[in-house]
Symmetry: C2
Subunit: 418 residues, 2 copies
């Protein structure tokens, strides 16, 4: 068996359901992450249906382009599952029944009080010269085939099985074959800037270098900056990544809320726990989303005392003691009401911090003076209550997400200052 | 130009960012939906980076497999954008500058008070014999190329531009070339059954037929059943789909909450609006998610009066008048407290319906008698308060989602009965 180094991989996802408008292959994201850590680049990905002829063409084409080809799926027990036969035929290997494997499969079924369906015998067929990759979760073992300098891996399609087989059986075998190069990633999390704002500020920094590379992913109210670097060792790669990440971090300053990929609610939770502080929330246009995010985190009862979703004016009065006259005078969507919500909920719940959010999420409810996207966010503590006005772009869902993010960010900055 | 019918398409997504662990190609889902409606099957999808040699190989391989090849991305103004040049080279077409197009590009920049960067001149290069596909949103026009009986489409990568160009410029040209066959989809939405429960019940129905086909997608607390049928006309396809969808609907009965793909909160919102009823919510373990989903919908202030997230026992007492003695006696996670939350919030807010949710979302807070996943959901109206106990599998996020779904479903059934 030739022991050439593997530099480039392609991934083939097999399954007709992946060619419908409803499903995407996500196994390849996991595999890419793991391969990149070994210094192996993924240079192509293909999706093909449960079709012998097409798979044969695709596999043959792919073997012409990459050192390592990973096939995901199509190892099941039914007629639709054609990966094993097709790969064996293409590589000119006979399929032979492995009696020891067959007995293990039968034992699996017996252990669950079932008789093995005849179909599953197909899963005991192994191409000549293949190494079996044990699958501790499902019935289909993975298969490792070598052809000349190329490696072909056949992995089960269900993500938990694929992950298990790849991590336990493939990574240790691939590691010595990979180029002596490692890849490391760090993620900076940003809020309060748009994607193009962010890129304008940091492009002059990252465009100077080829390694690390920078990928910017944008969601409403949140920009992720992925810094990925390669090095001869993990330490080398980490040093390159850290150097660039810190330059980007300095450039963006207070807009960076996490330097290790943490979500904003995780950061705020950590701050509250460290400071032994508590929070309560009074939301109107975000409809419970701020509370929901603060309670996404295990153990949130230590810092989250409660929240009210006061959609109606009455609810604002009942639950947070906002004076009805204030709503009358200023309107429910106003800086004054945001402040009254924040300080009202704080007092009602005896929390250290109160958050108030009120705005026009749209598409209805806007007036010329108060357009869709107008949102006031306030944070109160025992000393002071501060509010900010925002104009968020986008539809109802985007406005709500950005408002939620702004509320958590305002609390984060208050906690930083305290 | 040969006028052969197009039966099978492949899609190539071009862009190095699509080969990182962070991004998936989603343009192909949109394209698949639209192509399927024309009766064109998508038989393969490939992702390739911004690399001339690799793209050339992939494009050449793909042209050997499909009648129609759609390339997405790589039409931008920079050196990284190689689709135009590579496709032209592979098909043996010279690139010529289109002066009229160049003037249009310059005018676009002028209209925004900008001078066109020299780079963008590349976007005015057009392969010989190509038809330009107008892009009303961005600068890169799409290109339609024919080679023998094959069609190659080059489309801009940003999803809004791709959608615009495909719908306005490609669909009308593809329609007369597609096989005289149409595809129609209907989506049944199910809750209260697992994926395998659902499949066990309906497989005997859909396995009898090849057309329509059925795809089952599962999320926590929600199963989507996609029924896709082909016919000579849209009416034929619709009739086949409706017939099978109604058989599945009858089989699943009350577990189907929508026969047209509507989300559970949309169904409940519609019911409340039609009945002129209002609702208020008191949530513990779902942390605001029920309120958030009920207010996701535009115009929700017509039926949603308010919600409280009473994480602490104190909050339960303050906001919903749950007797402290009841919490003491039965525990915060109990059927009695769920009922008291539902009826308490209903009375406090003068709503027609009150929803109460209390449970152990985990990973902490469990006891031998009250394990992670134990959730009580209650719905109250003026006549009665009813609660149900659930044991939901999975982690914190899954438990919360399933609890939220159960709460909305309980209200849906109550509204059905009333």
């Amino acid at each position: 068996m030739p022991e050439g180094f593997i530099g480039e991989a392609e991934i083939i996802a097999i399954g007709s359901e992946l060619l419908t408008p409803y499903r995407t292959d996500t196994n390849s994201l996991f595999l890419t992450e793991k391969l990149n850590e070994l210094g192996i680049d993924v240079v192509g990905k293909t999706v093909v249906g449960d079709d012998r002829e097409r798979l044969k063409k695709v596999l043959s084409d792919t073997l012409g382009r990459a050192d390592l080809v990973i096939c995901c799926g199509g190892l099941g027990p039914t007629e639709d599952d054609v990966t094993r036969e097709t790969a064996a035929a293409l590589l000119g290997r006979k399929l032979k029944r492995d009696d020891a494997l067959l007995r293990r499969l039968e034992a699996r079924f017996r252990a669950r009080g079932l008789e093995m369906p005849a179909n599953n015998e197909r899963q005991a067929m192994v191409p000549e010269g293949a190494t079996q990759l044990e699958n501790r979760i499902g019935t289909a073992p993975g298969l490792w085939l070598e052809a000349g300098s190329k490696i072909v891996l056949l992995l089960p399609g269900p993500p938990p099985e694929l992950k298990e087989v790849f991590e336990k059986e493939c990574l240790p075998r691939l590691k010595p074959r990979a180029r002596r190069r490692r890849m490391v990633t760090r993620v900076l999390m940003v809020t309060g800037l748009t994607e193009s704002d962010t890129d304008d500020r940091i492009a002059p920094i990252y465009k100077q270098v080829d390694n690390p590379t920078v990928t910017i992913l944008a969601a409403p109210g949140e920009i992720q900056i992925h810094v990925r670097g390669k090095g001869a060792t993990e330490e080398d790669a980490q040093a390159l990544v850290d150097e660039l990440a810190e330059r980007i971090n300095e450039k963006l300053g207070k807009y960076v809320f996490s330097r290790n990929g943490a979500r904003l609610e995780e950061v705020v939770a950590e701050q509250l726990l460290l400071a032994h502080k508590t929070v309560a929330v009074a939301e109107s246009c975000t409809g419970g989303q701020v509370a929901q995010r603060l309670t996404n985190i295990a153990g949130s009862s230590a810092y989250f005392l409660g929240g009210v979703v006061c959609y109606s004016n009455d609810a604002k009065v009942w639950w947070t003691d906002v004076p009805a006259s204030l709503i009358e005078a200023k309107g429910a969507v106003s800086q004054e009401v945001a402040c009254a919500l924040a300080s009202g909920i704080r007092k009602r719940s005896s929390a250290d911090f109160g958050i108030g959010v009120t705005g026009i999420a749209g598409p209805r409810g806007a007036t010329p003076a108060k357009p869709v996207g107008l949102v006031y966010v306030a944070v109160a503590d025992a000393q002071k209550t501060e509010a900010r006005m925002y104009h968020f772009p986008g539809d109802r869902a985007r406005v709500r997400k950005q408002a939620c993010q702004a509320a958590l960010e305002m609390l984060r900055r208050r906690l930083l200052g305290s």
